[in-house]
């Protein structure tokens, strides 16, 4: 447990700890460990006994599920400040998915058995944790709504916009998705195939809306993309 060097100034700003006293924060952190994960490493795997829960400090995680038929689905991307692996909150003994570092990442972790005590001792934490789960529920419901009512291109547009909003970095040319993301990843987020994603992104590139590349994505015209997401048909540039 390399919990010695937990810099409180790094952790204090996280939403999750809003409204907690410094002593409370120290108490919560006292049982935490931290660890670095290189890109491609997994934090936990689907079906394993959930013995830890995590709070991402830096980097990105991709949480996937594999169906019994072997098809992979990307359930969510985890950004710094987000928790994951909180099986206890779902009343599950095992992890429902696999978390992989989509970029070099640093994460705090606690033993799962600390979950209920922490919640009971720190009601503020409980409220904040609930809001995290609430956020996630809303996002999941948004995806259900999109998959129920929207064609592939619009779903891809929504997905790319979400990525830009949550994992985007402003660059001169537009908003850069700041971790390596493949067409296959986007396909698994939208319930399509990499072929469809490739075709759609190529069309958008021709219109100057995005700029692709091997595991690269730059959103050059978020406004046009939003129009597509909201149901406008793509036309020529202006």
């Amino acid at each position: 447990m390399s919990s010695q060097a937990l810099d409180r100034s790094l952790i204090r700003p996280l939403h999750l700890f809003d409204g907690m006293l410094d002593e409370e924060l120290d108490d919560v952190l006292s049982t935490a460990g931290s660890r670095r994960y290189a890109i491609g490493e997994t934090l936990f795997e689907q079906g394993q006994r959930a013995d830890k829960f995590y709070l991402l400090l830096h980097g990105r995680l991709r949480v996937t599920q594999v169906t019994p038929q072997g098809q992979q689905v990307v359930m969510q991307m985890i950004n710094p400040g987000d928790m994951c692996g909180i099986a206890k909150a779902l009343q599950r003994p095992d992890y429902p998915g696999t978390a992989t570092a989509a970029a070099d990442s640093i994460s705090l972790y606690w033993p799962t058995q600390d979950w209920t005590p922490i919640l009971s001792k720190h009601p503020v934490f409980a409220v904040n944790a609930m809001q995290t789960i609430g956020q996630r529920l809303q996002e999941a419901q948004a995806r259900v709504r999109e998959m129920s009512t929207e064609a592939a291109e619009r779903r891809i547009a929504h997905s790319v916009l979400r990525l830009a909003g949550q994992s985007g970095r402003q660059e001169p040319e537009g908003i850069r998705i700041d971790f390596p993301i493949s067409k296959q990843d986007i396909a698994e987020m939208t319930g399509t195939t990499l072929h469809t994603v490739s075709r759609v992104l190529t069309a958008w590139e021709d219109l100057g809306i995005v700029d692709g590349g091997r595991q690269k994505l730059l959103v050059k015209d978020p406004h046009r993309l939003l129009l597509i997401a909201e149901g406008e048909t793509v036309g020529p540039s202006r």
Copy 2:
């Protein structure tokens, strides 16, 4: 506010209040009201300021969202013991959907402003409430997974099985969905059309798996239905 006649014996068994002392329960109930809703009545509507949250005691609620394009999606069915309208947990000022009584129903309600105080005063309630939201998150994620990877027939099978499990009553012939449900409803739960639902259910009726009817549904062979949901192709009856 008709909060006088709240029978504690009716409310005590609900999961939500597991582990709470009688005094705590009384305290929580002190600011609650209750009301009866006839089938078709709405408890709250999408976009309204969320001034109350609800706990269903009896009946069924259908929570729907309407997209900007006017397509309706059934987000969830609420069963007795479930909460709904808990916008506070989602950090939203308004209701994200509309809740309609799918059967004659009775519900408790609290002013939304009581949400945070109740959570802070009763950590057990907070933990229980989080598990409710966690359940819902899991269900939403299951739907995302299904819509990403499964064809229409399998999604409908999953949806019907979920209905049977949550809202089914055993009858001599099979499991009866115990509130009026239309093909349109099922279509809006599965991201299909009522036409597809009608065709699929007709095929299942011919195989003796279900028994349909106007706003009626009886699952006669849950096992076969599960096979379809899990990916078996339908064949003739043995």
